[in-house]
């Protein structure tokens, strides 16, 4: 909701702004008709943060449960999570993912113009990756489907091909398409494209596809380097992102943690490069957490953006778990 209304405010120079206003007007008129339609109006891709959070949590719980019991310090965690709780969580994540996907498909079918407008927005276009990432996370945390299973491989391909296609589209836009140069559109949610690649890497490495994993990893990391530098430069200043979306700053440290996990799954041990990436994400986390004023204004009213806090923290916890296990 906030991205919708704020997108109208924030990007006055968008070419289809008039279309947006018309759509909003029409949607407002339609609001009086049925409640189901109004739900679709309010819905937008940002709601996928919910399924991110839940699927990430499920993955974390699965990892904690599967820790080798050699890890003395982590042994309590292994026993704390009964398997039923984990299965419940996974089912909840699956349900939320399914619901959101269905809602979004419905929205595509009935409100295609607004969907299109959303994806032309510099924040919304990164959430194109959202369903596929959530699906991959869910796949990795499935209790009953392991990597050697053919269904797993099939599902991986189904979920990763859109990511690859989106990579080609969006990364190409970064340096060829005039209005969508990276220096113009870069914002913290751009990390989602990088995270998408890295999640696909991890899933691929776990199912044995080392070359594909390496390919996706290099793709993700190269663009992460570019994005990291650009975002640190803050060419446009902090006003390129609406205040309500400040929680997505947490994505800054989600990407290196995910990279550390991905590299670990490629080389099968938490070597120096993994450590360096993990430490970088720790530092960025400390840097953000010590700036509460950055988030104060966005914490006044509840919004779906608050869910953006959860996934990065989960990924950081995952990386920390791997690090702790390595150091035992």
């Amino acid at each position: 909701m906030e991205t919708d209304s704020q997108k109208q405010n924030e990007k006055p120079h968008q070419s289809n702004n008039s279309t947006d206003l018309q759509i909003m007007k029409r949607d407002c008129l339609n609001k009086e008709t049925t409640s189901r339609l109004s739900l679709l109006t309010k819905f937008h891709a940002g709601y996928f943060r919910i399924s991110f959070a839940l699927c990430g949590q499920a993955l974390l719980w699965k990892t904690l449960r599967e820790l080798s019991t050699d890890a003395r310090a982590l042994r309590p965690f292994v026993h704390i999570l009964p398997s039923t709780a984990f299965i419940l969580l996974w089912s909840l994540a699956f349900l939320s993912f399914l619901t959101l996907c269905l809602l979004y498909i419905a929205r595509c079918l009935t409100r295609f113009e607004s969907v299109r407008a959303e994806f032309q927005h510099h924040v919304g276009m990164n959430y194109l990756f959202a369903p596929w990432i959530a699906g991959l996370l869910l796949l990795q945390s499935t209790p009953f489907l392991g990597p050697p299973n053919r269904a797993y491989i099939l599902l991986w391909w189904i979920l990763s091909l859109p990511i690859i296609a989106l990579d080609i589209k969006i990364y190409g836009q970064w340096f060829t398409r005039g209005k969508k140069f990276l220096s113009m559109v870069a914002n913290p949610t751009s990390h989602l494209s990088v995270i998408g690649n890295l999640v696909a890497t991890r899933a691929a490495a776990e199912m044995g596809g080392k070359e594909i994993a390496l390919c996706l990893f290099s793709l993700g990391m190269v663009h992460y380097v570019v994005l990291f530098v650009t975002l640190y430069q803050r060419f446009l200043g902090s006003n390129s992102l609406p205040v309500m979306l400040r929680p997505v700053f947490f994505l800054f440290f989600a990407a290196p943690s995910m990279a550390s996990l991905a590299w670990r799954s490629i080389v099968s041990s938490f070597d120096t490069a993994c450590k360096m990436l993990f430490f970088l994400s720790l530092f960025l986390f400390a840097s953000l957490v010590s700036r509460p004023t950055l988030f104060k204004r966005s914490m006044r009213k509840f919004s779906v953006a608050w869910w953006a806090y959860s996934f990065p923290l989960t990924v950081l916890a995952l990386a920390a778990t791997e690090y702790a296990q390595e150091n035992e």
């Binding site: 380097v225 990291f228 530098v229 975002l231 640190y232 430069q233 803050r234 060419f235 446009l236 200043g237 902090s238 006003n239 390129s240 700053f249 800054f252 120096t272 450590k275 360096m276 990436l277 430490f279 970088l280 720790l282 530092f283 960025l284 400390a286 840097s287 953000l288 010590s290 700036r291 950055l294």
Partner: protein
Amino acid sequence: MEKNELQVETPSVLKQSSCQNIRGFDCVDCENGNDHSRLGNATSDKESKKESVASSENTKLDGQDIVISIPPMTSLSAFSLSLPSSPSGLHIGQTKLVVQQEKCRNTNQNNPANLNPQVARQKQFRSQPILVAEGTKRKLVRSETMRDSRFDPFKTWLGKLERQISNLRGMPTEEEDLEAGETKRHETEEAPGVDRYFDALEGPELDTLRATEVSVLPEDEKWPFLLRFPVNAFGMCLGVSSQAILWKTLDTSPVMSFLHISPMPNLILWWASLVLMVFVSFLYLLKIVFYFEAVKREYHHPVRANFFFAPWIACLFLSLGVPPSIAANLQPIIWYILMAPLFLFELKIYGQWMSGGQRRLSKVANPSNQLSIIGNFIGALLGANMGLKEGPIFFFAVGLAHYMVLFVTLYQRLPTNATLPKELHPVFFLFVAPPSVACMAWAKIQGDFDHGAKILYFIALFLYMSLAVRVNFFRGFRFSLSWWAYTFPMTGASIATIKYTMAVTNIFTRSLSLCLCAISTLTISTLLVYTIIHAFVLRDLFPNDISIAITKKKPKFSKMLAHFRSSSSDRKDIDSSISKGLEI
């Protein structure tokens, strides 16, 4: 104190200057001299309405200063008094009290009979050169018998101690200052925004005041020493301590044993750098204690802020360069103690880069930012020397990531970047420092000089060469204390070359390391000679630190014109400065 010097001649300037154009700015009619309301803050505001900017700065800086003048018979001579008043309204009473104690000094040469008796009995100080409506005020000669209260805005409450001490010594009492100091303080709590620094200053180190700007402190006179002592002074410690490390490496590495260096240079240099470090830290601590406002302004300066890393880096250098005869192995606790403040500083500075806003990197990037990066690598090197495992990797990772960002940004020379010098300047030597220390740190972390270390070393070498062949372009710059900070990259490159020679030993690398060591030693000695000359012969090693004295708001154009009219520059300068002022 010369109490007999009651008749001090009115400075000639005051005789000449007329305040007719600024009626009431510096001349309160003496009949109303007792009017309590006129003594308040509102007075100076009302009277200087024409120069509203000046008055706002006036009230900000000078508190409730009032200026009273005694109109003589014919013309209005601007006899200016500054009596900081207290908000509590006790001012008059205190004044009278003071009067009873007869510590007043009459600087008015005019016919005393004309003086309002009350005013005559009031304490009279030399006027404070408030801001620059009249440039002539700048040329006031400081009376030796007065305690100079012009620098009070920059003083902390502990500066009160100085006043108490001066009270005890019989200087004019400054009780009013005690109250005024508090009001002054809350006005100077906010340092100027980063835009002001860019607007007001120019030059590769942002240390020269633009012609259209005015300084809040008098430019023509030497400020108190502590105010002139910049944080760049720590650059000297950096330079000397890195030399100590160089001579230690020369002494201990087997490949250079053909030189037969004795441990003596290392020992001497290390002790010298230790003493220097203690001395400079002590002086800067005094500055923090007595002139906290100046320290705050330095901290907000886009270039100087990076020099706040310098003390910690110098301490790290000292730990690295410890002669073996003193301590073979240092305790790891020292590493934690030294890295903690570095870590906190970094959190602040890098976080500012990331969260955008006024101090984002695309706006403030300048070569001195590399000082913040170097701390990471040196900490990693020291930690690896001590045998720590994870800590060095942590700082190396953080340093590497941010170095990449900074390197790209500096190379891009973004149009939004206002601080990058257009021409070459010794500050560019800082480019050589991060890769050379990173290479040493990585070699130590990994245990041997592997490919990663070699890659970093070659990058450092390339940057060094590309600057060395342009050494002609470095001529013509005024010597400043910060040049010391730019010498340690050369030393760092020499040490990295020695380490590289240890890995790849042949005649070429040996001669390269010899050559670089010679260059760095030569540079340091030359700098030492320059410093001594400037310190003792020319006595301008510490010039007035203009960059901390910029105004918080841009001076109004009319004030600028008045400034030019009064200054003795010729027409051309005025024209060019005015045109510059119009552009800004």
